[in-house]
Symmetry: D2
């Protein structure tokens, strides 16, 4: 997520137009608890230590206990696998100045060798690997600037853990594996819509309605996947896909984090509504989920087949690439029933 | 696998020294069945169509049926996950002229935005993504040149399916997900060794002994992971790790493909013994497994914890990145018990 | 040049629509001299050895003798330098699946070091470096397929000099430095136009008129820069810039190569008219100039200031990056008077 | 320059060992003029505005006036060109975690097109383009941290002009072209040595002796190229090349900047002696030349042929790539006589 372009796009000028005067009053970076500012900004108060301990780097992945793994495996009864990751391909929607390049050097890369005339091919990739296409946002992805410092999950300061060649803390290699129960929250079906419009803010009640429809309750450590229908635009109408999206706002995010989920995914590029619910806040759900609560995001998912088959509860598996010091990971998460 | 450097390295001159006279006699590219050449080279005869059909692009992944998935899930009883993928990091062994670069652009990549002062980081990756570090070899990776054409799995000609920006057939996006039963073949423990030496050729009998020790039999669609101890050198003695390796030869490869496995993995960079069993054949096991049989390879695995815990049978999950037209995939495969 | 996209673009379907039946009749790759085919295709006959010798890799750069260098330097009288290279920047027109990425890793890349608190920045570039933005086409860039082989300048076969990690012959490092006399052929001014339309084919007579207007004659080894006005679209209307261009055809190319120039440049992305004069020939001027005659191309130049100042004769300097085995080079060529 | 590795190398631990206690006393970032600290660190005092004006971004390139250009051109009498740039190639010395990758996608990149069967090749580059191989250090490359801010040439603050996708000020595109008089200071020949040892600190007197030997005086705007003989190690003994180098210290740097040169080059990777003259200062000559004086550096030059031919005065031309917002540039600078 976090599309640098959007700062330049038309509606963003509107969104961000009122921000100039909203800078933090200097002095103490932390407003007093209960102040008006605190109510408005997700990270207006000191937000650490994490409930998982002051040194924790795994966040809500800690909720996936061995018992949780075992019970998730028990959800596999038909042996049917759904690939939720999209193709990484030329022409997919990529925001701002990020890029994606995949080439085959040489074709074949290695010429015939040996009396067995072996030939082989490689592929060369260049791009913002954890932030193009289907992507997992790790805890080094989003933070908040307060008093001249950039604070991330568990109060880690970027000036201390940042490094040109990979973060020294909060790297995606710390996450481990997300093998847990997954739930599909089919919001657009529940609302009787084909596709929710950009900027539509999904409410907690709507999430609750989805759960009720599916006769499911959220349990600690679950992965929640939100279907908005926006994903139907992927590679069909990329400008519309990128221009905005429906999604949750802070209230629905709180609904989910209160229920101690481990990860929130969606068929959108940012999980949260864009344009945002409050024009002056940039991607506040990212801050709430990742920075404050250590709950991960998984974006640009393909949830259509799950929905078509009416699969609402499943074994979910995602194993991030162990890219040392990376802020995110590409991947092909799966749902199995 | 397939290290371009090795063509330059000292022992390779020896290996390949006798090849000049071994070029195929032109005319018909296919020697008559039963000829001496056919006996010597894994792909000396027309090797297609595949048993999975003349148009198949999934190879041995087809063996992972829904029933296989379900029974693999039943192997999860303790909820314990083993990450078999290594860290992708600067300084890891990389052959030839391939490279790995990971940087954080900007730090933070996006400056503070909104009244909530959101900051964010990306990571930029450049490298042969499916062929550095822990890597999955797809069916577009290895082929054979015969009569001026480069043939791959199922007789596909590179001149027809090759493309500068991603293969038009046999791309890794066709594989799907490997969710199946896994078996650890702990060869070095079975042989009472700490680590097998480079060039050691593992025999079919030794694989059978591993199975017997573990009281297991191979079933169709299984993933077999071969532990040689060579992986102990990773990031400890990288030159030794890269200079050669123990591994299977053609006989042991045939032992496994006869038993209809889906994938062979190892704690080495090429699965097969290097220097090779026969000096004139370059990576013949790759051709046998991938090109002829459609059986996948997974290299540079970390199998130490599995072995230390005595885990020989487990639920194995690997979901390749859906890189359109790629020859391989990075990843963090897992074993769960 | 050579935009893979154009194969996909609307008008290209028209251009290339009639090609299916035009494939070379197999058997001898070389049509008999004087055949109809020979008249139609620039490289229909054996086109080597080069006039510079059968082993030559420098092509028309050989025409720049020490005497030529000295006389070019004598053209510097005002000490005024014109930068003809465009900015390499995000958003510049890039064809097909090529890409351009420039980032600053870390910002600063190196944190404060020493008691003098030195900090430093690098930049990371990824892209088709010799084929994006202002670009120099070397002799490894364009060739012709005949009888199953790809032939390049001086009859070099790609199957022999091609290499995944840089060409073994004809690499841009062989060119040396182009320090010579330059001439501006201001075609659009001569024709009284602000900008020539896409597809406009500049004739030999029009080039001769430009020379006459400037009271100049071409001498061996000169660099000729053709101004069409198309460059005014750069970063102003990129889709129009990329969709086509005015330029020379085979007749004007022959006019220039007959006069033994060393390089032809233009304020366009391909020097030659697009759509092409003959719909069935793809970039025939490239083949004529580079492959047959060893005359270089320099594309995406900014010639506006030269024209505005009425500078038609000047000292021209371009020193390609010595990228070993590369097919081209980026650069900032200059004109000095 | 600025090799992140060296912080890790053996001798660097020694060099930097005493720095922990040397941090700036907080409060005012600027020590009082004449304090002991000021005498010890090149940028201990406020070092701006530049003599070229408070808004200047070109630094010492301003010294190359039209008259200077014209007189430099007059030095061309034999028409002999020396290429001072080295080959960019796999295996060249690259410090730290920077990388260089050059591949030919596809080979050919574009398959046969048109009835003329045109084929073409590109090259894909990935790497720290302005900081690998022969490299030009621009004014955005090196700065100093003082009081929490990173200050660069003319007092520009990185927090203000830094940008993830290219610097907003001091980018290399501002430099223009260096077409001026060049002087070879052949220090190793003057000292009767084949090659100066790593850590050798060249004195002002030694530079003066070189000038006297050549019967030359420095004039404003000249380019000075320092030959140490260290360049003989390039691609011959890369570890020795990278482990350290002879070069100037602050005194010789001041000798040159007092004489108002525009650029200092050398056959080394950092111009200045490594290990440094004073162990606690990291690359102080870089700060003196670039950050304070706006005098450019050009590193990893090949000066052997110039020296062999006894060429001490010449026309020098270097035209940096116009990479928008880049900190440096690759290139092939030339000397012509």
């Amino acid at each position: 997520m976090i599309r640098p372009t959007f700062r330049l796009a038309g509606w963003c000028k509107i969104i961000l137009g009122g921000l100039a005067g909203a800078a933090l009053v200097s002095g103490s970076p932390w407003p007093t608890r209960g102040s008006q500012q605190a109510a408005q900004r997700p990270l207006a108060e000191k937000f650490w230590p994490s409930e998982f301990g002051a040194d924790d780097q795994r966040g809500a992945a800690n909720r996936i206990t061995p018992a949780k793994v075992t019970s998730a495996a028990r959800l596999v009864n038909k042996g049917q696998i759904y690939q939720l990751g999209r193709l990484y391909e030329h022409g997919m929607p990529i925001p701002g100045k990020r890029h994606f390049s995949l080439t085959i050097p040489g074709l074949p890369t290695s010429p015939p060798t040996g009396s067995n005339k072996m030939v082989s091919n490689d592929e060369l990739f260049s791009g913002e690997i954890g932030q193009v296409g289907t992507q997992f946002d790790g805890l080094g992805h989003v933070g908040v600037r307060l008093g001249g410092e950039d604070y991330f999950y568990n109060g880690n300061k970027l000036s201390e853990f940042g490094d040109t060649y990979g973060l020294k803390k909060l790297g995606v290699e710390n996450v481990g594996v997300l093998f847990t129960r997954g739930i599909l929250l089919d919001v657009c079906a529940t609302l009787g819509k084909d596709r929710l419009p950009a900027g539509y803010v999904i409410s907690p009640d709507e999430l609750a309605a989805c759960l009720k429809n599916a006769n499911l309750e959220i349990q600690e450590g679950d992965v929640l996947l939100i279907r908005t229908g926006h994903g139907k635009l992927w590679m069909k109408d990329n400008p519309a896909y990128a221009a905005g999206e429906p999604g949750i706002g802070l209230a629905a995010a709180k609904f989910l984090t209160d229920r101690k989920v481990s990860l929130i995914g969606a068929d959108t590029w940012a999980i949260e509504a864009v344009p945002h619910e409050r024009a002056d806040l940039a991607f506040p759900v990212h801050q709430w989920d990742l920075t404050k609560n250590g709950v991960y995001h998984l974006e640009n998912l393909d949830l259509e087949q799950l929905a078509a088959d009416g699969v609402h509860e499943f074994c979910f598996v995602f194993s991030p690439l162990r890219l040392k010091g990376a802020t995110g990971s590409p991947g092909n998460p799966i749902a199995i029933r």
